[in-house]
């Protein structure tokens, strides 16, 4: 059972990318880190900028802004370190964000079939309707078995 099936009210982290705000379920957030040196090496995954070192761990940096707001972040203020379930363990991904993050409690509305793959749910906060992100659809190499939005749950289309 995913967090989306378990919870109506959920603790979320609001993050800012440019002028827009998005949310991640707090369970998927390890920490907010100050920008640090990014290491780059030859690789072929275009969504990955490089890696940072965090607590002795190598964490890939994945800029999700291009997908969500149509442009890369010019100024990175922090890295939101998110976690994904990967097999039996957890996989860390650093998401560059352009502003401070906020922890909130909110009621979630599950995404509908017409919503983008990267939307796991919606929440309403201070009069703003905010997308709760599906990290598994936004970041490369995710284990789809752990996605809160199962690809098999989409309605069947019959001709």
């Amino acid at each position: 059972m995913t967090w989306l099936e378990q919870l109506d009210t959920c603790t979320c982290v609001l993050l800012r990318l440019g002028e827009r705000r998005f949310a991640l379920v707090a369970d998927q957030v390890a920490e907010l880190a100050a920008p640090s040196r990014i290491f780059r090496f030859a690789q072929k995954t275009p969504e990955i900028d490089g890696v940072i070192l965090r607590r002795g761990r190598v964490v890939p940096v994945c800029d999700i802004a291009e997908t969500l707001i149509g442009k890369k972040l010019t100024q990175r203020r922090f890295y939101l370190i998110a976690t994904r379930k990967q097999g039996q363990g957890l996989d860390w991904v650093a998401l560059p964000v352009s502003g401070e993050c906020e922890l909130i409690q909110a009621d979630l509305t599950p995404a509908g079939p017409s919503d983008s793959h990267h939307v796991a749910a919606w929440l309403s906060h201070q009069g703003e309707v905010i997308e709760v992100l599906n990290l598994y659809a936004l970041t490369p190499g995710a284990d789809p078995r752990h996605s809160p939005v199962s690809p098999t749950s989409a309605p069947e289309v019959h001709a």
């Binding site: 290491f39 090496f41 030859a42 690789q43 072929k44 995954t45 969504e47 990955i48 890696v51 070192l53 002795g56 761990r57 190598v58 964490v59 890939p60 994945c62 994904r84 990967q86 996989d91 860390w92 991904v93 970041t139 490369p140 190499g141 995710a142 284990d143």
Partner: protein
């Protein structure tokens, strides 16, 4: 009463590695997987030229006893800008010789971290993992990741006239059926 025995700390497993440069980037390879390091000049006369459009990273083969070793240009393999190479690593128990810019140093790594799952393309074949040395992240290459068995078979077919003849004979035999 005797105090409980303090368990001996297990020594960290270390591995000797060679840090090498390819197109101004640093990579690591296990010393154990490198049989010989030769200068490019020393092999100038011994190399056979290869022109296979699907494998631009292989331009030469070196005849060794009864078979060819294929010279893989490291920058091209990693999708980097080609640079003048100075050294060739002949890999142990492998049909690959690796063309590199130079050796940075030899050192020891104590920890190899798995490549994070977010890396999900060719780099998963290229690298055994990542290591941290002097606060730098260095990819540790997979010696078997330079050429696939299918690519080696293709190169064998090009370089070995006997196999070409055999292939032609098989083709004729099939056609005559």
């Amino acid at each position: 009463m005797r105090p409980a025995a303090v368990p001996k700390p297990t020594p960290a497993r270390t591995e000797q590695i060679i840090l090498f440069r390819a197109s101004n980037q640093i990579f690591a390879i296990s010393s154990a997987s490198v049989q010989e390091v030769r200068s490019v000049d020393s092999l100038a006369g011994a190399a056979v030229e290869i022109s296979e459009a699907t494998l631009p990273k292989v331009r030469h083969a070196i005849r060794r006893t009864d078979r060819h070793l294929y010279v893989v240009n490291a920058p091209l393999h990693f999708g980097l800008r080609p640079t003048p190479a100075a050294l060739i690593f002949l890999l142990r128990q492998s049909r690959v010789a690796l063309l590199v810019d130079g050796i940075e140093k030899m050192t020891t790594m104590t920890r190899l971290q798995a490549l994070p799952a977010a890396f999900c393309h060719e780099e998963r074949t290229w690298y055994r993992g990542l290591t941290v040395l002097d606060q730098n992240v260095i990819p540790v290459v997979h010696p078997a990741g330079f050429l696939t068995p299918a690519e080696i078979s293709l190169l064998d077919a090009i370089t070995d006239p006997q196999s070409l003849l055999n292939a032609a004979g098989t083709a004729r035999a099939e056609l005559s059926l």
